[in-house]
């Protein structure tokens, strides 16, 4: 199966995406940002259709939309409003706009399903290069803010006497999530972002008790699902996203089950 160029690209893209999704997912799950992540993928859909409408690459439109939306959500969330409510409002607006741009741009349904459900087998060399560059930036930014980000995600209540750079971390984190969601949706589609960003980290937290091990195990779960999913998809000619989803959900259910039995 690796004789085919498109399968090589798919495996490489899958590997890069799983790496990012597992690492970023660890912080997303710890900070209870699962709903935000899901909403960002809907917002990403709007961004992608806007991109196609004005003639940009879908990924660029997606990143612009998700980044600005997550900054908006970050600025709006405060002691007065519940985070989830703000997120719903912004994502409702986004889906509406996504439908509008889809109609205005006369975008084909193939392009739309590609955005919604992923099109990993259609990834080109150029897409792959872009993915690798973005992934590199995300990992670099994450590493440089590791300690502040760890406290923000795992124990926000304990954060006080903050320096300005620590206050910035909230926003840096939101943009990182936005970019990661955009990258991941290349693989599983924006509807299934949960599958790679949230589920592997949510499963991993039932086994290990340190941040670094959490990231490692989340990446391993994501990689396993992606590689096995791609292989079965190749053999059966059925959608990759379906198999990745099934594998990750199974891992999650098993993890919860064994934890409840133990605890």
């Amino acid at each position: 199966m690796f004789n085919y160029d498109f399968m090589q690209n798919a495996f490489m893209a899958g590997t890069v995406v799983s790496l990012i999704a597992g690492i970023v997912g660890t912080f997303v799950v710890a900070r209870n940002y699962a709903f935000l992540t899901h909403s960002l993928s809907e917002i990403g859909f709007a961004g992608a259709t806007f991109g196609l409408f004005v003639g940009w690459p879908a990924l660029l439109g997606m990143m612009l939309a998700t980044s600005s939306a997550s900054l908006l959500i970050g600025a709006l969330e405060s002691g007065y409003t519940k985070r989830d409510n703000v997120t719903s409002a912004v994502s409702a607006l986004a889906i509406g706009m996504g439908i509008l741009f889809l109609a205005l741009g006369h975008t084909s349904t193939t392009a739309a399903t590609g955005i919604l459900f992923g099109s990993v087998l259609g990834i080109s060399h150029q897409d792959l290069l872009l993915l690798v560059i973005l992934a590199f930036i995300v990992i670099l930014v994450l590493l440089f803010n590791y300690r502040a980000l760890r406290q923000l995600s795992f124990d926000e209540a304990g954060m006080f006497l903050q320096s300005n750079s620590q206050k910035m971390v909230r926003y840096i984190f939101l943009v990182i999530i936005a970019i990661s969601v955009s990258i991941s949706s290349q693989l599983v589609g924006s509807l299934l972002i949960f599958v790679l960003v949230t589920l592997p980290a949510a499963s991993a937290k039932y086994y290990v008790t340190s941040t670094l091990k959490l990231m490692g195990l989340a990446v391993a779960f994501a990689l396993f699902g992606t590689w096995v999913g791609l292989t079965i998809a190749y053999l059966t000619n059925l959608p990759t996203s379906f198999f990745i989803a099934v594998i990750e959900v199974l891992i999650y259910l098993l993890s919860v089950w064994q934890f409840q039995k133990k605890a």
Partner: protein, 233 residues
Amino acid sequence: MGIIETKNFGIRYGERVVLSDVNIDVPAGRFFALLGENGAGKTTFIKSIIGQNQQTTGELLVNTTLIGFVPQFRDISRDYPLSISEFVSLSYNSGWRFWLSNQEKKRISESLTRMDLADIADKRLGLASGGQQQRAYVAQALVKSPELLILDESTASLDHEHKVALLQNVTALQKAHNLTILFITHELKLVSQFADGYLLFKNGTVSQGEAEDLNVLTLEMTHRHDEDEVRNV
């Protein structure tokens, strides 16, 4: 020079005056109980000390930057993944290194030992008992060797035995390291065994008193204290 001094200090929230005419002087190395009904401004005052209130009048001098703070509410569910020792290490929240230096490791293990957590350092915080969790919160606040430790109702959810144990732990530190402790609480009877003085939040201002006066207050407020105990159960 006291570790916390105020001169005609006041705090507002928009139009509402929370505290005014506060004139207190807390000497270093003492254990002070912060008393008063809910909504009397105890937590708001603490927020000013840790630099989170903007709308203040008068003067507030905090003569240390080494502050440890244990907030009242924390969101720790049963599936919270981090171990107690990793939770304590979250205090090291600046810089980019994703590993701990030897110095940092040493401080963390000292802090764990002080709070009797060394044996369960690898236990999941989410699966630890209420008393263990509170001790972990205090251990986290102690990691950077603070000169001022602020506890916001840290004993409220514990049974009597654990309440006493926690306060014995922190008063031992107070004596050994000249640590100043501000302890927000409703549990007068309990705290009167440990405190050197108190700050009473009442009628929009704060009055300061010595430990001897606590017993008088205890009698006056016994009725209310009982109500609080019922609520805490």
